[in-house]
């Protein structure tokens, strides 16, 4: 089964609980953390791949302890109101997810090829590339 990509959100008081440990130990899941922002003072977020037979049970466990779980479909988006199709992101993008369509030279974004590396977020002078969970 393909891994399920999820975003977890949890309040500051959950930050010190060993939830990932429980997913591995009690539910026998394979966890690949793609991104984590954990801070005892603030709401935390984590993006990860989960795979294993008990994936759904593991997700139910997370919800039962008050963690928000959202499945992740598209993380980086191209804000078309802000994008001016200059193209300065296209040589920065390592996977060709951002590319120029010729001959009209329009900048396109293929989210299937995006690996969420975030390089485009700051390289874009218009700040038209945005993270959305």
């Amino acid at each position: 089964m393909a891994p399920k990509k999820v975003v977890l959100r949890f309040s500051a008081d959950k930050a010190d609980q060993p939830m990932i440990y429980k997913l591995v130990k009690d539910y026998d899941l394979v966890i690949n953390i793609l991104k984590a922002n954990v801070n005892p003072q603030k709401e935390g977020t984590m993006v990860m791949d989960i795979s294993g037979e008990k994936t759904e049970a593991g997700i139910e466990y997370l919800k039962s302890v008050g963690v928000g779980v959202q499945s992740l479909t598209e993380e980086i988006i191209q804000n078309e109101d802000k994008c001016v199709s200059c193209g300065s992101c296209t040589a920065i993008c390592p996977t060709g997810a951002l590319y120029i369509e010729r001959p009209d030279m329009t900048v396109r974004f293929d989210s299937d090829r995006c690996v969420v590396c975030h390089l485009c977020l700051k390289a874009c002078p218009m700040r038209a590339m945005e993270v959305r969970f």
Binding site: G87, A91, M105, K122, A123, P125, M126
Partner: protein, 396 residues
Amino acid sequence: MATERTFREINERIKQGKAVVITAEELVTMVRKKGVSYATSEVDVVTTGTFGPMCSSGAFLSLGHSKPRIKMHKVWLNGVPAYTGIAAVDAFIGATEVREDDPLNSDHPGEFRYGGGHVIQDLVAGKKINLRTTGYGTDCYPRREFETQIALDDINEAILFNPRNAYQNYSCAVNPSSKTIYTYMGVLKSNMQNAHYSTSGQLSPLLKDPWFKTIGIGTRIFLGGGVGYVAWNGTQHFPSFMKDEGGQDISPSGATLSVIGDLKKMSPRWLAGASMLGYGASLSVGLGIPIPILNEDVCRFAAAGDDELFAPIVDYSQAFPEREPDNLGHVSYAELKSGTIKINGREVTTAPMSSYPRAKEIAGLLKTWIQKGEFLLGEPVELLPNANAGISAHVL
């Protein structure tokens, strides 16, 4: 007999709705198919366009008087300082100014999220802007502090005045060094992994009239979505030609324009704040110039295609910062637009900094305005200095 036209004759045809107007891109194709003489006899006006970051931009704002009056000694617009050494309630907001609390490059590369260019875009978008000002108090201007929210419609005058816009041609920037560099030409990866360029090539206004046979003081232009004028030559106006080793002209190089227009009639689509990672804030400006086809000479230059226009390749890790004159050769805009170029036998990925689709849209809008008779050509009261003027750069 070869076709000759005057500005006045063309304007008469525009008023009658008879003028034949095409974009510079369309002219390139027409001349290749049917020749210069045919195109000159057919076409009255050719429209150009460019849209990209143009740092030397800003706006004069006459803010109006408070009650009691204040002589504005310091002014901040959404926290961005504006220059006030003009008169009591006048200020100039420059595109590259940033907030006083901006971390700049202290955490390199800095993001420069909000600067004067963004203030200008917010103003033309009709957004409310925080105006904070302090004064030292005089008998006629007693107030010492004032803070309010303003919108573009609330202030008396707002004049976009850009001392240097519409660079005729620009370097293709590369980075042969071993680490990533952050420049006004974008993020340049190490070991020459990318090459960035920044003109609209065959649509670029000053590449299409390289001898300034038609563009001068008073030329009416598309500026920021509204109507503007060429006020003067731009600063750092060096209207020469790049030469090859044999001394032959390769391509026009460093002419610029100083332009002016009513900010209140412009649009946030065509004046957009820009943040150049590790470099600073700027303003992307949309600018288009109509070129009257006065004769075959004018037509021939305006018909130069991407394969006939060249940019110098410049090392931004060494030659540019150290002011070394070397370049790594020249490359055509056709090659640049293809997505890869060859430098010293190696394939390098290219990317533009200026938007070709937006440049094309500007040329198209200007064409429509002229076809509808809404936009007449401004005959220059004086043409700008060209390559024969012998202008050369001073260095510090």
